[in-house]
């Protein structure tokens, strides 16, 4: 067990000895476990306990950082010295802050998640795997099921008297079904939050059906197509370009949304909301990485940019207030800006209605390569896709190996209809993305 109080006391003592008046201690611990099934047995089980501490302080008007996983009192003294040394070489004249605390913090809507024992994870991973094989004789080698659990605790303590703690956790399952039909292999996957069989077993049906539906996929001619982007793919696009909503990116010329508050940046059917208390998001926190209270806000409302996202320093530069979006990818990272639960709000159309409205075109159910094929600084994307033709207002034949290309800013303006069912991604830290399916017009597509 890591004794946070003992480490904190050592840091405070070392900071005082070094003459540091403004400092913050950011402490994060986590535990995780995952069972994996392969073939007809549990092939692997892993679990981990981790923890790290980050000390940052204002020295000479600059913010110095240092962090460690070595939880000894000697290391705490080193940490203070390293943070001071790092601050000495910083040149940025951005005003930096140690935050005294918000007057009020919101209330989480997510229910606490009980960390399951190993037996439950293994049993349910095996049940998911068996269920997947039972769906079709075409299910074959390479099919994998995983069930996982994760929980984390974050604490912030600073020289302004702030002392906050938050715990959050989630469980989930994943299945990748591999099928072989007439010598042709295909795979598909599905995931869900929650580790009960009621949540997990339906994944088998969807993954197997999804994989089988890809058999016999055709290639399409290059050209311009109306494209329905599935909710899970649209949320990945939103995630890839979420940095464009950062006030820091805008200030530094890395987002074309700079100065566009109040302007139309998307089609009128698009509202994008950052809601840290969305009940579908299990990884909730009441405060951001600087201790500022998080809250719900529309970033884009009916196509109009309402606000960018800010931490304390960038808000000050922009002449506004923090939106409670300071973030740290890990305990060791410097403070950055991220959304919490960023979602495109649902429209009125079912998926079937989107097919009928589009009449023709493409239904994109898989996008790959966003990490390389999406450039947030330019908004450009060109990514590998798979999906289906839309023929006569219905989902048609499967399509493979094509790309869609465009610009994210343009894409937001080309959306004419929004689906009614919102899909959620798997949270990463306290950040998650969500989107319904959207119908975008006239998208450049490369095929055969």
């Amino acid at each position: 067990m890591i004794d946070f109080e003992k480490l904190k006391d050592a840091l405070v003592k070392a900071a005082t000895a070094a003459g540091i008046e403004q400092y913050e201690i950011y402490f994060k611990t986590a535990r995780d476990a995952m069972a994996e099934a392969l073939g007809d047995e549990i092939s692997g089980f892993s679990f981990g306990v981790s923890g790290g501490i980050c000390f940052r302080c204002i020295f000479g008007g600059r913010m110095g950082y240092a962090s460690t996983e070595l939880m000894t009192t000697d290391e705490m003294r080193e940490l203070v010295l390293r943070a001071v040394e790092n601050a000495k070489h910083i040149e940025s004249d951005d005003e930096v802050f140690i935050y005294p605390g918000s007057s009020e913090y919101g209330k989480k809507t997510a229910q606490p998640v009980e960390f399951p024992d190993a037996a439950l994870l293994k049993n349910n991973a095996l049940a998911l795997q068996q269920s997947t094989y039972a769906k079709s004789k075409s299910v074959t080698d390479g099919t994998q099921s995983r069930v996982f659990a994760y929980e984390t605790e974050t604490r912030i303590f600073n020289s302004k008297g702030l002392s906050l703690a938050n715990t959050a956790g989630m469980t989930g399952g994943f299945v990748r079904a591999v099928v072989k039909v007439d010598g042709e292999s295909a795979d598909d996957y599905d995931y869900a939050l929650g580790c009960g069989l009621d949540r997990l077993l339906p994944l088998s049906e969807r993954a197997v059906a999804g994989a089988r539906a890809k058999i016999g996929a055709v290639e399409i001619e290059s050209g311009k197509y109306d494209v329905i982007i599935d909710g899970r793919q649209m949320l990945n696009l939103l995630a890839a370009f979420s940095t464009v909503f950062s006030g820091k990116s805008a200030r530094l010329g890395l987002s074309l949304l700079a100065g566009k508050e109040g302007s139309e940046v998307a089609a009128p059917c698009i509202t994008i909301c950052d809601d840290p208390f969305d009940p579908n998001c299990p990884m909730q926190t009441t405060f951001d990485a600087e201790g500022v209270a998080v809250y719900t806000k529309n970033v884009v409302e009916k196509g109009v940019l309402k606000t960018l996202l800010y931490d304390l320093s960038n808000a000050k530069k922009a002449g506004t207030r923090s939106t409670g979006n300071a973030s740290k990818g890990s305990y060791a990272d410097a403070v950055d800006i991220s959304p919490l639960c960023l979602s495109i709000k649902p429209g009125a159309c079912s998926l079937e209605e989107l097919f009928q409205i589009a009449l023709g075109g493409l239904y994109v159910t898989e996008i790959k390569g966003l990490h390389a094929g999406a450039n947030y600084a330019t908004g450009d994307f060109s990514v590998e896709c798979a999906g289906f033709l839309v023929e006569d207002g219905q989902r048609g034949r499967p399509v493979k190996s094509f790309t869609i290309a465009g610009n994210f800013y343009g894409l937001l303006k080309s959306i004419t209809h929004v689906g009614s069912k919102v899909e959620y991604g798997i949270p990463s830290g306290y950040t998650v993305f969500a989107s319904p399916a959207v119908l975008a017009r006239n998208i450049s597509t490369a095929g055969k």
Partner: protein
């Protein structure tokens, strides 16, 4: 890092319930990052990671646990948890660890440290300033200089006890060019398995100007036309095409469970006869090199494909058990919290028989991909994608106007056959490869090659 006798006790505890193999991977690493943006050093931070991963096998079943608690109690608790999860019998065994020292084939002269932070910051600044001054349309320059000093200890139930230290240094410079209505970017990101002597060969100012020039080229370029066409892919990071299209499909991670298009194809012709490709972790100071892999096996040079015929996979210990083939020195992981698996080191296509000029002149209409971005692959189907960071159209055998926004997609088995010309200017580029054992440094490489036909994504 940890007492040998304690390690023996931890291994015994791990195996107490019937595991047939146990392994301890201990790590203490220090990393630092200096970040530049908006004409200033914006942030500097460093981090020490410290922890242990304990793994047990029973046949091909594995249990892996990691902890930051490296006290004796913490390690014994972790070992007991692994033992409880792997089996339920009661076994007593003896383990006598015997130290093995592997030669250091990657000498380091200037280890990055706090004392050199100012010096390193000056190097980064020099590169970023050169990028900013390259053209008045460069509106922003971002840079980072990162280093990692990794110290590992590996002990296993077969008696192995060994340690290794590796130091890596990398600089990344990204430039943004704007004409007032749109932005375009360019970047460069070399790295080596060495210390700050890296900058004796890599001049920061030249790197900055390369990034800026690419951004300006892209700003002035029109969008690439979409469709199928022949593509000439330049040396260096162009090798990402082999890394993605074939390399991942040769890792035991997917081959051993039958989830690779390359499973069961040893000895078969899988590529054009002009293609010979290797994975070589022994290249002195290369970005993806190692002294030992993360299971304690020495680095190897493995010929993967020779004259188009599949010769070898990349195999870790678990893959070896599943496949009945020997390990190849390819077991890697991001850090102690990840279970290791088979990964690439420095993977590249060797020089071929064709003159580079002949390759360009052979293309009547196609794309010249001068600089590639990253990509990904589905090893089962071999379907891959890459982005093209800097590209030009080829018309009548000549490199013509710049184009932007291109991507390449296809399947590995097809593209390996379609590499019909292989040039003679082998060079490597540096990347970070992500897979189930985390993100690790790898080199990709090749000479200029021609792919006879591939789908180019564009507008």
């Amino acid at each position: 890092m940890l007492n040998k006798h304690l390690l023996e006790r931890v291994l015994l505890r791990t195996m107490a319930s019937g595991a047939d193999f146990a392994e301890i991977f201990a790590e203490r690493s220090h990393s630092s990052a200096i970040n530049y943006i908006d004409s200033k050093i914006e942030s500097i931070y460093d981090n020490t990671i410290s922890g242990v991963g304990i793994r047990a096998f029973l046949g091909v079943r594995t249990v892996y646990a990691s902890t930051t608690d490296i006290s004796e109690d913490g390690l014994m608790l972790c070992a007991a948890s692994v033992a409880e999860a792997i089996g339920d019998s009661s076994v007593k065994s003896n383990i006598l660890l015997c130290e093995r020292i592997f030669p250091n084939i990657h000498p380091v002269r200037i280890v990055p440290s706090a004392a050199l932070t100012g010096f390193a910051a000056e190097l980064l600044r020099a590169g970023c300033v050169a990028a900013a001054e390259y053209d008045k349309r460069i509106i922003q320059v971002q840079g980072s200089l990162t280093s990692k000093d990794r110290n590992i200890l590996i002990a296993n139930s077969e008696g192995l006890y060994t340690t290794d230290r590796s130091v890596r240094t990398r600089i990344v410079i990204s430039a943004i060019a704007s004409d007032g209505t749109e932005n375009q970017s360019g970047s460069t990101s070399p790295g080596r398995l060495m210390g700050l002597e890296f900058f004796e060969e890599h001049i920061p100012e030249e790197l900055g100007r390369m990034a800026a020039a690419q951004a300006i080229t892209n700003l002035e370029a029109d969008y690439c036309r979409a469709g199928r066409m022949p593509v000439a892919i330049e040396s260096g990071f162009g090798g990402v095409i082999f890394h993605e299209a074939c390399g991942h499909s040769l890792e035991a991670t997917s081959v051993a469970i039958g989830a690779s298009q390359m499973a069961g194809k040893l000895g078969q012709k899988i590529a054009n006869k002009k293609v010979t490709a290797v994975d070589d972790g022994t290249i002195p100071n290369a970005w993806g090199s190692i002294n030992i892999d993360d299971e304690g096996n020495p680095a190897c040079r493995n010929v993967l494909i020779e004259d188009g015929v599949l010769k070898s996979y990349m195999i870790d210990r678990l893959g070896s058990r599943r496949m009945g083939l020997p390990v190849t020195g390819n077991s890697r992981r991001q850090n102690y919290s990840y279970e290791p698996t088979s990964r690439m080191t420095n993977t590249f296509i060797l020089n071929g028989p064709d003159k580079n000029s002949d390759i360009i002149e052979s293309i009547e209409f196609g794309l010249y991909a001068k600089e590639m971005g990253g990509g990904s692959v589905n090893p089962l189907t071999g379907a891959f994608n890459f982005s093209v960071r800097e590209g030009y159209m080829i018309r009548g055998g000549k490199i013509c106007e710049a184009v932007r926004g291109a991507s390449l997609i296809g399947t590995g088995s097809q593209i390996l056959m379609d590499i019909d010309m292989v040039g003679q200017n082998l060079a490597c580029g540096q990347g970070m490869c992500g897979s189930r054992s985390g993100t690790i440094p790898t080199d990709v490489g090749q000479p200029l090659i021609r792919v006879s036909s591939i789908t180019v994504g564009g507008r």
